[in-house]
């Protein structure tokens, strides 16, 4: 059965296209991009007023399974992703047990297949048990379907180990995703160091804790020629370092998260643990630099760092609360605010949320709407107004700082492998 998405604005940066077009799908594949009004023998879905874009990809989420199913499962996370307009996610390795062996990778892939919602690409651990001591069996992890390697949440503090990881991963053809944080500078900290940490009396985390590790990893990428991807950049200094490295010709990529271009450290007043994550919310100047980095190409991707927690971890003192917030439900509308504010174009938004994540992770499909390509498509209604209501999340996590926010823009149709979800 064919499906015609009719009357929309097709935005496919890979083809340089941003025009009114109809999109024809045939089974699991994209068949054709047609001139508006073209006839086709297909079920018609009227998507007038909407953007038709390659399926959105969130390259940084935590699905908590195996081991912390009370926070999230692969099924609930994949369902939340699809509801938020995301057709594929990459899930980090900090499960219990850690995804540092093929059995865990297989388990996650099987759970995702059974769920049948958004695609789930596992990310394997760099080090055994995320302990930063010896390398995990990276080759076997990749053979079993891991699309990248990362100790996310636990920076690889040993420069020697990080060097080996970049070298080894290079031969495997996958990137190393680095959580840039110098633990000796951030120790026990719970918010960004600045006026607000001083006023609130919370242990500070200086911007330099992130930037020192960004600088180290850039040097190691240069040394090894490995594929380095820097996760959740949050500071002006990090953006500057990456911009300079790219200008030198270094093959490095970087992501940021909606909270870093939406909120600031001033939002921590009130001590609500739903404003606590790692890296922490930064200053206004950092926020502006992150937006500039998204606009000028320094930052390649927007990812949610979806990190569901239960009230057990969050309904406690701010300094005792776990780091992380959920983000799959809000990544699209918060990113759309950048378009509304004139910071980035709709096509740039699609690059950040689809084209580049697919390229960075070397995904087998997605990121474009080429005929013959797998039919992962998101239809966005950019004018839909809605209010964030955490009770309606499909995720088990309710730890959002955006509760009650009035947002504009929502996924109206989500298609994965030709199947409407």
């Amino acid at each position: 059965m064919k499906l015609l998405l009719k009357g929309g604005r097709v935005i496919d940066p890979a083809a340089g296209l941003d025009e009114p077009r109809d999109l024809l799908l045939d089974g699991e594949k994209i068949e054709a991009v047609l001139a508006p009004g073209a006839k086709a023998d297909a079920e018609v879905v009227d998507v007038s007023g909407c953007w038709v874009v390659p399926g959105l990809i969130d390259m940084h989420v935590h699905l908590r399974e195996p081991g912390e199913e009370y926070k999230e499962t692969v099924a609930t996370g994949a369902a939340e992703a699809a509801a938020g307009g995301i057709t594929a996610v990459a899930c980090m390795a900090n499960t219990k047990p850690v995804n540092d062996c093929a059995a865990v990778t297989d388990y996650i892939i099987e759970k995702a297949r059974a769920a049948g919602r958004a695609r789930v690409y596992p990310v394997g651990a760099v080090s055994k048990g995320l302990l930063g001591e010896g390398l995990a069996e990276m080759g076997e992890l990749v053979d079993h379907g891991c699309v990248a390697l990362s100790d996310d949440g636990h920076p690889v503090m040993s420069a020697a180990l990080m060097r080996c990881a970049l070298e080894y991963a290079k031969a495997l053809g996958v990137p190393v995703l680095s959580h840039p944080e110098d633990k000796s500078l951030s120790e026990n900290g719970s918010m960004h160091e600045g006026e607000w940490s001083t006023r609130l009396g919370l242990r500070p985390i200086p911007a330099a804790a992130e930037e020192a590790m960004v600088a180290r990893d850039l040097l190691l990428a240069e040394l090894t020629g490995g594929r380095l991807h820097l996760q959740h950049l949050s500071t002006a200094g990090s953006v500057r370092l990456v911009r300079e490295a790219k200008a030198r010709g270094l093959q490095v990529t970087a992501e940021t998260c909606p909270h870093y271009f939406t909120l600031t450290d001033a939002d921590v007043r009130g001590y609500d643990p739903n404003f606590k994550m790692n890296p922490p919310l930064r200053s206004c100047a950092d926020r502006a630099a992150v937006i500039q980095g998204l606009a000028d190409g320094t930052i390649d991707a927007i990812a949610s760092d979806h990190a569901p927690h239960s009230p057990v971890e969050k309904d406690v003192e701010f300094d005792a609360a776990a780091n992380g917030i959920v983000g799959l439900a809000t990544i699209l509308p918060l990113s759309l605010r950048l378009v509304v504010d004139g910071k980035i174009s709709p096509a740039r938004l699609v690059e950040l949320l689809s084209v580049n994540p697919a390229r960075i992770l070397g995904l087998p499909g997605g990121g474009n709407l080429k005929p013959g390509e797998v039919a992962d498509v998101t239809v966005i209604d950019p004018a839909a107004e809605w209010t964030v209501d955490k009770a309606k999340f499909l995720s088990k996590g309710r730890n959002t700082p955006f509760e009650g926010w009035k947002l504009t823009g929502r996924a109206r149709v989500v298609i994965v492998g030709g199947k409407r979800l």
Binding site: E195, T198, L200, F318
Partner: protein, 318 residues
């Protein structure tokens, strides 16, 4: 006496303007008179229950609140972690729910985490039980009753606060006393300087309206009030400077430095003091020191707050 205070709970001093602080200090003057009588007890809070909920160890502040409540005839219950379920894994908010179920009229909270008093207050409000809360110290955030008693002491001894030069010396980064005093003294129109080795001065503290100095002699040259703070070794301050010996030499208030202070300058300390580190014994016990006077008036200031927030009757002198 006017008992209306604009705030329902005292979590920090940011919610109070000069008028509000003055009102509390004026109320404390009446309370101090009660403390000077032979029979130091009035029935003002008779039948009211005050819970001192101390998640972090404290002797001075807990005792001061206990005496304050008892002198107003409140039923005072002390609850501290060593004798509680906290060691069994109960959360702070579960503990609060359990105590709230026993219908206290006011809760005094001390906690090691910044923001804990605010979290508890918000939780009680969400439960439909807006019991007044007094923050008796939350992490490195605030210790508003200490700042109020310090303001009382200075106003009482020097006759005013406005225009005075106040220098706070020591581990500013870890100090809730420093933060609350910065807010309290600047609100009342004093000029505040903070002094200490750079690693103990928190980021951008100038934005709280203070001057920063790293040299003690310079910082106290024009001071009317010098407030010495303890080095909080339990919060990791010890690793941020070479040694206590060097600290004492560079930042300790010794007799030589005390002699060079302006005539009439006051020396204060919130306690507990570390003799020979931030303050030498002869200075702590010397005639400029009002350290024990601070403790004395602390009871009166806390009586004033219990009275104002607990909505005591109008007869405080009965």
């Amino acid at each position: 006496m006017e008992s209306a205070l604009k705030i329902k709970s005292l979590l920090d001093l940011e919610g109070l303007d000069r008028e509000g602080i003055t009102h509390i200090l004026d109320t404390a003057v009446s309370m101090k008179q009660i403390n000077e009588r032979v029979i130091k007890k009035v029935p003002t809070l008779k039948g009211r229950t005050q819970i001192n909920l101390f998640f972090e160890p404290s002797t001075r502040t807990r005792t001061s609140f206990e005496i304050a409540g008892k002198r107003l005839s409140a039923d005072v219950i002390n609850f501290s972690p060593s004798s509680s379920s906290l060691t069994k894994g109960e959360t702070t908010l579960d503990t609060v729910d359990n105590l709230q179920a026993m219908s206290p009229d006011i809760i005094v909270v001390r906690h090691k985490s910044a923001g804990a008093a605010e979290m508890i207050t918000r939780h009680l409000a969400a439960r439909g039980a807006p019991v007044p809360v007094i923050n008796a110290g939350d992490g490195a955030h605030a210790h508003p009753t200490q700042a109020l008693l310090d303001l009382f002491s200075v106003r009482d001894r020097l006759g005013r606060v406005e225009g005075l030069n106040v220098t706070i010396v020591g581990d500013i980064a870890n100090s809730r006393v420093a933060r609350s005093n910065i807010i309290g003294f600047t609100t009342m129109g004093a000029n505040v300087t903070v002094c200490g080795p750079p690693p103990l001065i928190p980021a951008q503290v100038e934005k709280m309206g203070v001057r920063v100095s790293h040299h003690l002699d310079e910082a106290v040259a024009d001071a009317d009030v010098v407030m010495m703070l303890r080095i909080q070794l339990e919060r990791g301050a010890g690793g941020r400077f070479p040694s206590l010996r060097e600290y004492a030499i560079r930042y300790g208030l010794n007799a030589r430095r005390a002699e060079r202070l302006k005539p009439g300058a006051l020396i204060m300390h919130p306690g507990p003091i570390n003799r020979g580190v931030e303050i030498s014994p002869e200075v702590a016990d010397g005639e400029r020191s009002i350290i024990l006077y601070q403790v004395e008036v602390g009871v009166a200031v806390r009586m004033a707050l219990l009275y104002l927030l607990c909505g005591g009757g109008d007869e405080i002198t009965a």
